[in-house]
């Protein structure tokens, strides 16, 4: 199936509109999340409780027509609760593997930082290689495979901050923020969001989604764009404002997301605005400020201002 570019844009808009019916006034974040998924990346949503993190994840899963499972992370969750376990069956006299929630197309890991690092790292292999090793046997995960994780700000009580290695596995990190007054009013006046969620019908089939994922790789990223990307990455490494610069994996993620963003905008090539649009989401959670300040949030904008586009 070959979808022309203008059709792509129409399809993308449909998806965004569908999710926007449950998450009001957050089109930009929805687009970013979509771009992240199209770039085959995993998404981390960080915000205070009750801001709509889970709603965004569920809405996306429904609109994309993916099989969906959810794990609520708690402090006593064990890796086996995620990956699955072999259980002895008396009838056959054998051990039979009962797959865990990770064996689905879209895994929502809710409040991932409430569990211990041991359990958090059970997701590492699944996210990086798309497979799970349980009891010495490696089993492939369904395709496509996404993880959408939500977490509370690390300053909240009862949280285990994600280690850098785990954070780097997440392609992008979003934060939703409070809705604007008009959107909030519509939310308050509207019906129950749970019911609205059920009303979202899938806009894509799994095959179509995979097709779009392939199409992302074919979006042209010209020499000039690669140069700009390299300048950005170099700046974070040499300017001394950050504890560590961006990793090569971050560079790849940045390029892939920029391509996805260009595709959502209905273009077949990447322009600097695409890079700038996805940069805060992709780079923000990887750049820790060099001084006492905890995160590099505002500084990421500063990088964009300082590095010449041309």
């Amino acid at each position: 199936m070959n979808v022309p570019v203008h059709n792509t844009r129409k399809v993308m808009d449909t998806i965004v509109q569908a999710v926007a019916t449950v998450l009001l006034g957050k089109e930009d974040q929805i687009r970013l999340a979509l771009a992240c998924l199209l770039a085959r990346g995993h998404l981390l949503i960080e915000d205070l409780p009750g801001m709509g993190k889970t709603t965004l994840a569920q809405g996306l899963a429904r609109a994309l027509g993916l099989s969906f499972s959810r794990i609520q992370f708690t402090s006593d969750l064990l890796p086996a609760d995620i990956l699955g376990i072999s259980v002895y069956e008396r009838n056959s006299g054998e051990f039979r593997f009962h797959p865990g929630p990770v064996f689905s197309q879209l895994l929502l890991a809710d409040e991932i930082n409430r569990t211990t690092p041991k359990t958090q790292s059970a997701l590492l292999e699944a996210m990086a290689e798309g497979q799970a090793t349980v009891e010495g046997e490696t089993r492939p995960l369904p395709r496509p495979f996404f993880v959408i994780a939500t977490q509370n700000p690390v300053t909240q009580a009862g949280t285990f901050p994600l280690p850098e290695s785990q954070q780097d596995r997440f392609t992008a990190c979003l934060s939703l923020g409070y809705p604007d007054p008009a959107a909030e009013r519509r939310l308050l006046e509207g019906g129950d969001p749970r019911r609205l969620l059920d009303r979202i019908s899938p806009c894509l089939s799994a095959e179509q989604l995979q097709h779009f994922q392939h199409a992302v790789s074919r979006i042209t990223a010209s020499e000039a764009i690669i140069d700009y990307l390299q300048r950005l990455i170099q700046y974070t490494r040499t300017q001394g404002e950050f504890e560590h610069g961006l990793s090569p994996r971050a560079g790849l993620a940045l390029l892939q997301c920029a391509r996805a963003w260009a595709m959502i905008a209905g273009r077949h090539y990447v322009v600097p605005e695409d890079v700038q649009a996805v940069f805060p989401a992709v780079a923000g959670h990887r750049l820790q400020g060099a001084g006492v300040t905890a995160t590099g949030e505002g500084r990421v904008e500063q990088v964009l201002n300082a590095v010449d586009v041309l």
Binding site: T220, S222, R267, Y269, V271, L304, A306
Partner: protein
């Protein structure tokens, strides 16, 4: 405003380094208490930096000022003169450094630093000094850069880099000024207070004078011969002819020697007493580079023909110069190997002066001289007899015993130990006592032949004194009694003769001369001397070449031509700096589309809409569209063409971009659609 005036903490540290670098080389010629005061100022400043001490209070500062002034007056007794002035400058520098609090003070300290550093050149102009001054200038420039950086900079060596870079950028201009700037004579002269510390020949000769010079390894002059270097025994560098003797000291007969008729300056028609001297026999031409002596006389081989303007030859065949030699001076001479004019005769007055002896000195010598004169057949036999006596039982030494009132008597018949001036003086006295006109000549003998570069180095320890006697029919003939006593002094070198003797080089404790026997050190010594010679010849002695260079460059040397050339040269010299700045400021664009787009941005910047560095072309176009609706269409077209071409890989869009940018005239469009413009 106060924040700007405040001095950055590390900036003051650089000023301290600059202070040490510019004052330290001065310590040699300043009174010791000033060095101590400077050290105290630095120490105090360091304590202030560490936060241990406070700034000096008003009364402390006043007391320090009074102390410094009192010290200056006590040491010098006057303020006019080079050394008191420099001492005062250094004292002021130290005091200002101590009270420096804000940026304005720091600037004064920096300017003082430049002055103090450069004033070092007034005392010494050697290659080493030039290097020290350059280093001090770099340090002061670093101080200047240091007070303009903020404390947020973490790189403390950055001011040093900036200072060195600034000096480097100034270097081409410095070169042009050096080449072209006319060497003006000073508008007023500052008396140089020359202490006895400087070595060199004086215009009188007493026992012990040349012995003193023999202890110094400093360079007196260097000579470059046009052809081969003549053999050592012919290298008698005549300086002064001393005809008057007062019993202890030989001095010049100034009224006769420097009478106008008895001096022939370069460029004049030769007088009668020179008529037969030049143009007969063989000659050697050479160029002498003389270290400053503060005196009027020059050194040359007999019989000199001056080839440089401003120099002349006296009737004693000594070479003189109109101005004293206050800085390194080069002159050319051709020396003729002719015998002095045999037909010349001594006038009665000259004969009386050249045989005059003070009454009541050295009676024993006078008696014996008269006796020997009666016994000898002719003057030459008498000379031979005296030299034979010297040859038999006299010693040549750098450490002769002190002599009393009858110095010649004591030397000839008692101690028999002496240096060249003792022999020359005694010989001339003896001859005069015997009725033969005789005089003492002082100058240098020999010199070290630098074989690699083929020039001759004459040092202070080559200083020598010998005698000349008047032989009827032959004129003045050189007789060197030292040859009789120590022939190796003339054939080899004074260093070989006196090796191991106490006192040799005692005036030059750091000289590499001490290690002549170590081969590689000797090579190093000669290399260093050549470097120093090149410096003296081409940098300090550049005055001479400058005239011909300017003549070649300008056609005629006129002030306005020089000024024009100076301006053009300075412009040319600064061009590379400008080019470098330009290249630094603009990123290199290899793609033609980038250049066109940059052109488009420049035009928009011309109407006040400059693109921010982090602003993508699309965002920029949208911002322009809001501000200047009149030019939405062309801006949008250009931006789209650029994006297609540069990001979309559409090569054909390049031509469209070029065409659109060429047509793009935002100034005109704005003029016509001015009303549409939103505020």
């Amino acid at each position: 405003m106060t924040a700007i005036r405040q001095l950055p903490r590390y900036g003051s540290l650089w000023l301290l380094i600059a202070f040490v670098a510019s004052v330290l080389p001065h310590t040699g010629h300043l009174p010791p208490w000033i060095s101590v005061a400077a050290a105290v100022a630095v120490a105090w400043r360091v304590q202030i930096f560490r936060g241990a001490w406070h700034y000096p209070g008003r009364w402390v500062k006043f007391a320090l000022l009074c102390l410094c002034l009192a010290g200056l007056v006590l040491v010098y007794g006057r303020l006019y003169g080079l050394e008191p002035m420099v001492a005062m400058l250094v004292a002021a520098y130290a005091l200002k450094l101590l009270e420096m609090r804000d940026k304005r003070d720091a600037l004064i300290v920096v300017y003082l630093g430049f002055f103090v550093a450069v004033s070092l050149c007034l005392f010494d102009q050697s290659l080493v000094t030039a290097a020290i001054v350059l280093f001090a200038l770099a340090a002061v420039t670093a101080g200047l850069a240091g007070i303009h950086q903020t404390d947020l900079h973490h790189r403390h060596f950055r001011p040093a880099m900036t200072g060195a870079m600034l000096l480097g950028q100034a270097l081409p201009l410095m070169l042009v000024l050096f080449l072209v700037m006319p060497r003006l004579p000073p508008l007023w002269s500052v008396p140089m207070q020359r202490e006895s510390g400087t070595t060199g020949m004086s215009d009188t000769l007493s026992p012990g004078d040349i012995t003193q010079l023999g202890r110094s390894a400093e360079v007196a002059f260097r000579v470059e011969f046009a052809d081969d270097v003549p053999p050592r025994r012919r290298l008698y560098w005549r300086g002064l002819v001393l005809s008057r003797f007062d019993g202890r000291t030989w001095s010049q007969w100034e009224s006769w020697t420097y009478a106008r008729d008895n001096i022939h300056m370069h460029g004049e028609a030769p007088p009668h007493w020179l008529a037969g001297q030049w143009g007969t026999g063989t000659s050697v031409a050479y160029r002498v580079t003389l270290e400053p002596t503060q005196q009027h006389w020059l050194y040359s081989l007999p019989i000199p023909q001056p080839l440089t303007a401003g120099t002349g030859v006296t009737r004693n065949y000594s070479l003189v110069r109109r101005e004293p030699v206050v800085s390194e001076t080069a002159y050319r001479v051709r020396s003729w190997q002719a015998r002095p004019d045999a037909s010349d005769s001594l006038s009665p007055l000259r004969r009386r002066v050249e045989t005059h002896l003070p009454a009541g000195y050295n009676p024993r010598t006078q008696r014996i001289a008269r006796q020997w004169a009666a016994e000898a057949d002719d003057t030459e036999a008498l000379v031979r007899r005296v030299l034979d006596t010297f040859r038999r039982d006299f010693f040549y030494t750098l450490n002769p015993p002190a002599l009393g009132q009858h110095s010649v008597d004591e030397f000839l018949w008692d101690s028999r130990r002496g240096y060249c001036e003792h022999f020359a003086s005694a010989f001339a006295f003896f001859m005069r006592a015997a009725g033969v006109p005789a005089r003492v000549v002082v100058g240098y003998q020999g010199g070290e032949h630098h074989r690699a570069e083929n020039y001759l180095i004459v040092r202070q320890y080559d200083a020598h004194a010998w005698a000349e006697v008047w032989l009827e029919g032959s004129g003045w003939v050189r007789v060197d009694p030292t040859v009789a006593v120590a022939p190796e002094r003339i054939e080899r070198s004074v260093v070989d003769v006196l090796e191991g003797e106490e006192g040799l080089f005692s005036a030059s404790p750091l000289s590499l001369e001490r290690f002549r026997s170590v081969a590689w050190l000797n090579t190093l010594r000669l290399r260093l001397d050549y470097l120093d010679y090149l410096w003296t010849k081409w940098v300090l002695g550049y005055r001479e070449q400058q005239q011909s260079l300017l003549g070649d460059l300008l056609g005629r040397v006129e002030p306005w031509r020089i000024a024009l050339f100076l301006l053009a040269g300075a412009g040319l010299a600064l061009l590379p700096v400008l080019a470098w700045c330009f290249v630094q400021a603009r990123p290199a664009f290899t793609r033609v589309e980038d250049r066109w787009y940059r052109h488009f941005c420049d035009r928009l910047a011309g109407i006040g809409l400059a693109r921010e560095p982090g602003e993508a072309p699309g965002d920029f176009a949208r911002r322009v569209a809001v501000r200047e609706p009149a030019i939405v269409e062309p801006v949008k077209g250009i931006t789209e063409a650029y994006e297609r071409c540069r990001y979309g890989g559409d090569r054909a869009a390049g031509a469209e971009l070029k065409a659109r940018v060429r047509r793009f005239r935002p100034r005109w469009s704005r003029l016509f659609f001015y009303k549409d413009r939103k505020p």
